[in-house]
Amino acid sequence: MPQLTARNRHRVAFRLNGRQVEALAENRMLLSDLLRHELGATGTHVGCEHGVCGACTIQVDGAPARACLILAAQIDGADVRTVEALAPQPGRLSVLQAAFREKHGLQCGFCTPGILMTLDAFLTTRPDASEAEIREHLSGHLCRCTGYATIVAAALAAVEELRKEQKENA
């Protein structure tokens, strides 16, 4: 029965953005801090640190989740995606990211990585998402700049573009 002691650091192994990674973490370390401080993945932002603001939202096994409400020790063996995974290659944006740029879906950009990870997960499973459903998913995020209107517009533009792509590929 592995009982990990409080004072030592313990090995955590998981997939991060398609690559197998390992790090050492104290039991009390949050996944948000593991990503930023140990693995250098600073695209994930930290806002409230108690699950309210949504800035640190990432994907765990395909579903959006708060990195600040997950202990590093809980992530062993999981598949984690952060905002760094979205762009298909350096210098190119994903459809969703391009729509945010096009529709001014961000101002200061602090909340954006979390919102992108929620919408990316949602639109992957539901490419026919309605505005109401998009708004419901966005309700787990705080943005103090945009008033959300341009974020919704960007998400709807991405839906439109993804639909077009799907038709072309069909």
């Binding site: 029965m1 592995p2 009982q3 990990l4 002691t5 409080a6 004072r7 313990h10 104290e26 039991n27 009390r28 370390m29 949050l30 801090d33 640190e49 108690h50 699950g51 949504g54 939202t57 765990v60 579903a63 959006p64 989740a65 708060r66 600040c68 409400l69 997950i70 202990l71 020790a73 809980q74 062993d76 929620t118 949602f122 419901e136 998913h137 309700s139 787990g140």
Partner: protein, 275 residues
């Protein structure tokens, strides 16, 4: 803030969990999805000496139907319960209520039993368990016992879980033929804690109304099959019996008014949708 230091146990068997709970007593806490506990750790409202992660225990991760009840294991996440294909048929109240729990992003991790164990006075799952007359299955090193929902919630974040015990599962009675269910909630924004939430179950004889967000734990009342002024009077009595208090989010008076109005809507909807 960051959590204080704690030992972390990843058990291979449930016996190890129970042994550790027995040994460490109130110094040990179970962690499943962590969506209530980790915020409390981050804010240092909880300072356990040892955390026991029960998610590696696959036996706890099942939903099954057994003798007229749906048994939800301690490792079942809210999103998994929400996606259970039989939810709308077996537990229509839960299929209405579950979308009100936190957000998509927290339901992906949080567990059904974790919310029951946390016992927030405004939470949807404790309210639903009370409304349906379900029960909580507890285990310790020495014994197993089942506690009816009505005896489980004792006060603000306070439950009948004794030292050395863990929740193994919760049991929701399957919806009976000809019963109607309704769920309503008012919060500042969708996903916020409810100011008042109501759940009603009607079987044609009586309508059972459960209310969360007002008293320090969810409460349940049986209403006679009356309408009009008699129902208003009954709801008014309920509103005054709930020890409503003023806080940052709403006044006691507003909460009582919500119990009267939201309660009435919920009762009427449950009565009208009896199948």
């Amino acid at each position: 803030m960051k959590p204080p230091a704690f030992d972390f146990l990843r058990p291979d068997t449930q016996e190890e969990v129970l042994e550790t709970l027995h040994r460490a007593g109130s110094d040990a806490r179970i962690i499943a999805g962590g969506q209530s506990l980790v915020p409390m750790l981050n804010m240092r409202l909880a300072r356990p000496g040892v955390l026991i992660d029960i998610m590696p225990l696959h036996a706890l991760r099942a939903i099954r139907e057994e003798r007229g009840e749906v048994i939800v294991g301690a490792g079942v996440r809210q999103a998994e319960f929400e996606a259970w294909p039989q939810l709308a048929e077996k537990l229509p109240l839960l299929s209405q209520a579950i979308g009100w729990i936190g957000h998509v992003q927290t339901r992906a991790r949080g567990t059904v039993c974790g919310s029951i164990a946390h016992a927030d006075p405004s939470a949807e799952l404790p309210l639903s368990l009370i409304a349906l007359g379900g029960s909580v299955r507890l285990a310790s090193r020495r014994r197993r016992r089942t506690v009816p929902a009505a005896e489980f919630f004792l006060g603000m974040m306070s439950t009948a879980i004794a030292e050395g015990e863990m929740i193994e599962a919760v049991a929701f009675p399957v919806a009976g033929r000809g019963t109607g269910h309704a769920f309503r909630e008012i919060g500042r924004r969708h996903g916020d804690f409810a100011i008042v939430a109501c759940a009603a179950v009607s079987d044609g004889q009586t309508t059972r109304l459960a209310v969360a967000g007002v008293d320090d734990h969810p409460r349940r009342f049986d209403l006679p099959q009356e309408d009009g002024g008699a129902l208003d009077d009954a709801l008014n009595d309920i509103a005054w019996s709930l020890n409503a208090r003023d806080d940052l989010h709403a006044s006691a008076r507003y909460r009582r008014e919500l119990v009267r109005r939201l309660g009435r809507e919920t009762v009427m909807e449950a009565r009208s949708c009896r199948s």
